[in-house]
Symmetry: C2
Subunit: 329 residues, 2 copies
DNA sequence: CGGCGCAGGTTACGCGCGTAATCATCTCCG
DNA sequence: CGGAGATGATTACGCGCGTAACCTGCGCCG
């Protein structure tokens, strides 16, 4: 039963036509010169044999595959990532593109090498690529799709700025005047944390407030308590904390609870992401929720537009980001 | 600057040898018949040109690629999934295999079709494939690697059973005699929930206890409260809850908190997964932690063993699962 | 001195596919 | 009635690579 996979030649034989005809029919050749009746015969034969074209052959013939590579940084990815990837896969699949995810881990082949191997159609990245990777891809002529630019930067940077801004504006609107910014401990997250932090800073500046007091939250419970204690001691004017994301917010809440600090009476807390669990912290966490589906759809649209040479659409931040006020503010 | 990517012919020309020689050198041909000096010339030329072999060409020539496809079910995946995928990617990359993740969403190409297109080396799946998918792959002669079998079943099933058992045994050891099982609301999770549930049931049976009382936890906060209230009313003998995973446990904790129920005094709770946030619930959650790195390494090892025809190693459950007792039990 | 084995290559072919160039009919009109 | 399209399918080629089969000197032994 080791039936070798069907090739277009098999289909041709089955349908009693030449291989070229099969190819024309299955690819919906632009100059449609195939008789409807023959067409049917070919399609029927293909279906009967369960024919699926070999990507390898196809890629070889026309120089590139239909694979789009999503470059993931070597960074602890949160709860949102799989939902996002899933949604991007869906959107691209609807356009006949296959998304392949590449985790940039030390042992894996470098990005340009993998791109060359797969004859990739494009590379999508949510963050600026390293210089060697970027120039490597440029030399290969592989388009690198920024995740939807919005004038002068990456979407992630712009969205992140906006996230921080939304956090701060919500707190300021509630009357808070002394803010702190809770940063994640992993240094690899800095590229993501910096723009959010910056967004908070900007909102403070516009509100004529002092800059947010930064502090780092370790990943372990004991460390979180220590960090929060230090913050309270060093910056008595702080009445609200913007956390890098919901997980950091949970850690901060844990620290406050251990120290017997009233939330939100003494200290308010707000996160970013809107993970499902954010509804279940105690008290339930206020947060800036990200709609991964909307973000993914936008990314896919941007990718396709870019491939067909159209200009990039601005990031629809209003569709992607939503303030979810709950009990911690 | 649109330098077409280098091919092996380019390398051959650059090194002043034939294309075949290049191929032999770069593939470390078994019957080593190349002069060391020529070898060096070829390697140098390849390096100078930044040559990366085309996967398409290679796949076409020897009938299969080095791609391993990881089939992900169309199921809401948790926090653990990306860490797991990341680890599998690492392990396989170390063996020269490239992991490609396929999210089984409705719009995406069906599994056998994608496998055919990529001339996939093998398919890895953590769950039983649908019958059409399975038979489709069989017809293609693509090996499907179960995630490490352990005698008579899938690793996931075995691990899940073990997880449920560990939860129940921990609670029974603490003196509990009336257990409940908190199931997730999404019906697609049933294949994962059932074996865990069964593990709890087995442990109860062995301890001469009544079967665990099942109840379903909706995803929204209000629904969670209602479900918990109903449980308390309907099954007064219950003093402990085994939750499908940490997220469900959070929801249960939320419900108990809203109802003013003492945890663990009146009701104990235990989760599964050991997500980072589990340390930050209130009270901090006892759970059966999964080590995604260990699981991934085992999976990769099993995959490689399977590809070279060796027998499957048993799942090292002790390395993968650890009881983390905290404050909810 | 002729032939033989062997190191060190090269030439030739096919993998499955897309597609340009070509060919065989058949129709229709001058 | 002959030839110019129009129509519908075919033949031929190359994409980049792996590899079986085949050459070519050259040292060595009978």
């Amino acid at each position: 039963m080791s039936t070798r996979r069907a090739t277009s030649a098999d289909v041709a034989r089955e349908a009693g036509v030449s291989r070229a005809t099969v190819s024309y029919v299955l690819n919906d050749a632009p100059g449609e010169r195939i008789a409807p009746q023959t067409r049917e015969r070919v399609l029927a034969a293909a279906a009967r044999l369960g024919y699926a074209p070999s990507l390898a052959g196809r890629a070889l013939a026309n120089g590139r595959s239909d694979i789009v590579l999503l470059a993931m940084p070597d960074v602890p990815s949160g709860e949102l990532t799989p939902r996002f990837v899933d949604a991007v896969t869906r959107s691209l699949a609807a356009q006949g593109l296959t998304l392949v995810v590449h985790f940039d881990v030390p042992a894996a082949p470098r990005l340009p090498r993998l791109a060359a191997m797969l004859s990739v159609r494009a590379v999508v990245s949510l963050f600026p690529l390293s210089e060697p990777d970027a120039s490597g891809l440029r030399r290969l002529g592989v388009p690198v799709l920024p995740a939807g630019t919005d004038g002068d930067g990456l979407a992630v940077a712009a969205l992140s700025l906006r996230q921080g801004r939304m956090q701060a504006e919500h707190l300021i609107g509630r009357g808070h005047t002394g803010l702190a910014y809770a940063r994640p401990a992993d240094p690899r997250l800095a590229p993501f944390a910096d723009p959010r932090h910056e967004g908070v800073r900007l909102a403070c500046a516009e509100g004529m407030l002092a800059a947010p007091v930064p502090f780092t939250v370790p990943e372990d419970a004991a460390g979180a308590v220590t960090a929060v204690r230090a913050l309270l001691a060093d910056a008595p004017g702080v009445t609200a904390v913007c956390a890098y994301n919901d997980e950091v917010a949970f850690a901060v809440l844990h620290g406050l609870r251990e120290l017997g600090v009233d939330v939100p009476g003494r200290i308010a807390v707000i996160g970013v992401d809107g993970i499902p669990l954010s509804a279940y912290s105690c008290p339930p966490l206020s947060t800036v929720a990200v709609a991964p589906g909307a973000a993914a759809r936008h990314l896919a649209r941007a990718a396709i537009a870019h491939l067909s040479g159209e200009p990039a659409a601005p990031v629809p931040a209003d569709e992607i980001l939503h303030l979810v006020p709950r009990a911690t503010t």
